[in-house]
Symmetry: C2
Subunit: 473 residues, 2 copies
Amino acid sequence: MAPYAPVTPEILTQLEAIAPGRVTAGEEVNPDYGRDEMPIYGIHLPEAAVEVLSTEEIAAVVKLCYEHNIPVTTRGAGTGLVGGCVPAYGGVLLVTTRMNRILSYDLENFTVTVQPGVLLQQLAEDALSHGCLYPPDPGEKLATLGGNVSTNASGMRGVKYGATRDYVRAMTVVLPTGEVTTFGSAVSKTSSGYNLLQLLIGSEGTLGVITELTLKLLPAPAAVVSLVVPFGDLAACISTVPKLRQSGLNPQAIEFFEKEILRTSEAYLEKQVFPREIAGEEVGAYLLITFDGESEDALEPVLEKAADLLLDQGALDVLVADTPAKLKEAWAARSSFLEGIEEQTKLLDECDVVVPVTRIPEYVLFAHQLAGQYDFRLQYFGHAGDGNLHIYTCSNDMDREEFLRQVDAFMTQLYAKTMALGGQISGEHGIGRGKVKYLAQAVGETNLALMRGIKQVFDPKGILNPGKVFSAE
Amino acid sequence: MAPYAPVTPEILTQLEAIAPGRVTAGEEVNPDYGRDEMPIYGIHLPEAAVEVLSTEEIAAVVKLCYEHNIPVTTRGAGTGLVGGCVPAYGGVLLVTTRMNRILSYDLENFTVTVQPGVLLQQLAEDALSHGCLYPPDPGEKLATLGGNVSTNASGMRGVKYGATRDYVRAMTVVLPTGEVTTFGSAVSKTSSGYNLLQLLIGSEGTLGVITELTLKLLPAPAAVVSLVVPFGDLAACISTVPKLRQSGLNPQAIEFFEKEILRTSEAYLEKQVFPREIAGEEVGAYLLITFDGESEDALEPVLEKAADLLLDQGALDVLVADTPAKLKEAWAARSSFLEGIEEQTKLLDECDVVVPVTRIPEYVLFAHQLAGQYDFRLQYFGHAGDGNLHIYTCSNDMDREEFLRQVDAFMTQLYAKTMALGGQISGEHGIGRGKVKYLAQAVGETNLALMRGIKQVFDPKGILNPGKVFSAE
């Protein structure tokens, strides 16, 4: 790879001609543009930032950078957790947040076409007002859809509805040369050559810049009910999950958390939401389960059967949240886990592993015992139905260098255990900058060489989001 | 690309050492190994065929061929419709049909691990006996799972359950160098680098040889009911489909067919299955719809609502198939469409296009009018819920060269219309050898260059299934 060229005054003039009034450089650049939600992986400002408005503008900026060998990184809302949108090698940052229009619905064919800067929350609400569900439901509702697609985000409803990958029908992409192309089409099936659409999903902005998306929708379920289910301890809680899935009751979401993280979240919200004790027995862990259905009547027998099953499996109680207010309250506690953790600690790192559902207790126990050898504090919660765990290491007052050293040693061991259990090192956050080293260890040389080969095919000069997914040498 | 080397007596000796007693060459080779179900795309026998039994044997054969620059093509049951498993450049044929063991179930995590030569029907039945559903349901039940994954087959139940792509968790792959690697893992979510697993699915044996598969299962629905729904004509029939999908009733399958192909199929079966006239009105087209649910009671209101909707939309009647015998009979007619067509014609070609569901009537009318300019006869049917149409051109007594010429002219125009409607040239059959020219036209130079680049990364010598998906120059 040739060394990158700087963004010169001449380049700035050309950027300004492409996007008049929407280019910032040097000191003017918004300081947020140097980081995402996990600054531990390094803060790097771009030399210039361009608030783009269209595919044509993006193509023009990328072409200019390609010709001059300048790195280009794409940023949506900056809500990522692995440093994926941080311009590690400087260069130009494409900011897509103003490309936030929902362009059109095709309600007969159940698709919607959007710009990449539309927020998840914005689409979810708008789709509902059209009688449709956009199923992917990551905890972070203020992420852009472009970001969601780039990381293959999934979230709570993955159990029933899958990940973002399953809802992308087509995309317009600017390739690193500045060429514009489309992958996929609005239809639901294809077996027409290598699936470039699927390859771009989860590629974290390293193969192309997504400038438009056609997404699949579903008819919105008429009834949604959540169950809050306290258990005495984690093992009883988790061993219930495979039983639930085998029951054929088909829940939309199955989340688990232990009492510690709930307390953290409730302290942040300044409100106690879930019971801490049932009939004198202390609650150790909770499931938060959501069912949806065609009508409240149709859900009734499902909820009854679920309650029987849960109590049979040792649940201390089954609390029903069946009104919008109750649903909101139950999920607010779950949604504030990260904010609660952030408030309590100076430095934070995390991992986003996936293990087979039945191995969660063993894995959590392993993580606990391993963390006992270090000085940081562990907090975690997860998508129990998918085996996807979010494990946070909280520095408390530890020194930064020491924290980084300890976390690296811990994560290396934790990822080795993940792979030994047949897991994956990231379920939905991606590799970004923070997990590059661990991906290389996890997938091995052969697969990494294939990934690097693919990168080379799309981006022979290595200008697009360098240093992400794998190192940029 | 270097010219390929022949399979010499020395190579045969080495193949025999790898797979003793399971190598055939020259005249001994099973003549079926030169073709699939669509011989119109050319019959080519391999120089040698090896009935492989394990990943290790496959790796050894591929390594040998890589070193000597000999083409390698993988064949399952040979039920493809685009010449995908035909060894167009001779060389060695890997036959996987004896790798037909279901290796293990993980019923708590809902996965099954199989060898690639397991037949779809074999897994479907075995999974049911374990209380599980393997959702992909192509018409051809005697295809191997390796073949299904290589073409991303989908079939009837795609409306509710998606394609094979959605049910592959992990695979063991022999790369063209003979290296063995794995893509994916048994867990349900990942965002861990480029998704090589998804890239292999639908790549038609051109990037690697699949030697083991871990597949996702679902709890088997307790109740399955089909509705046979006659309409006066195709337009009324098809316009009902988006309404059905918007209703939230979530059918498993929505098939459509017109009276002509039903007559063909019934003639083949020597049995009349569906009514030809309802209360004096001739039936022009049919929907065959399947619903599944957790119990017969739970399905009852769904079926009632569906029947009301169908009659509102102009259905002449709604016939219920709710016993195993009735279900089998209704679907037998549907399943015999291809056999019925094959029996009636000397030469056959087909396409497997996908268009938005709402455009089916317009598209079928276009195909009809276009076919009027040619001497062949058109037969078609389709997965209405997905917009996936199977259109057959039947030569009757036409001369082969003339038939090929006319079909090429027809298909070129038909595919252009497909792309103009935002469709795809293949929904589930793949590109193979038969559709190479049309794929290049459909996806354009930029995307084709990316696909060729990816092929080069995996297979720099171009030994794996050459001449498929794109031309081998």
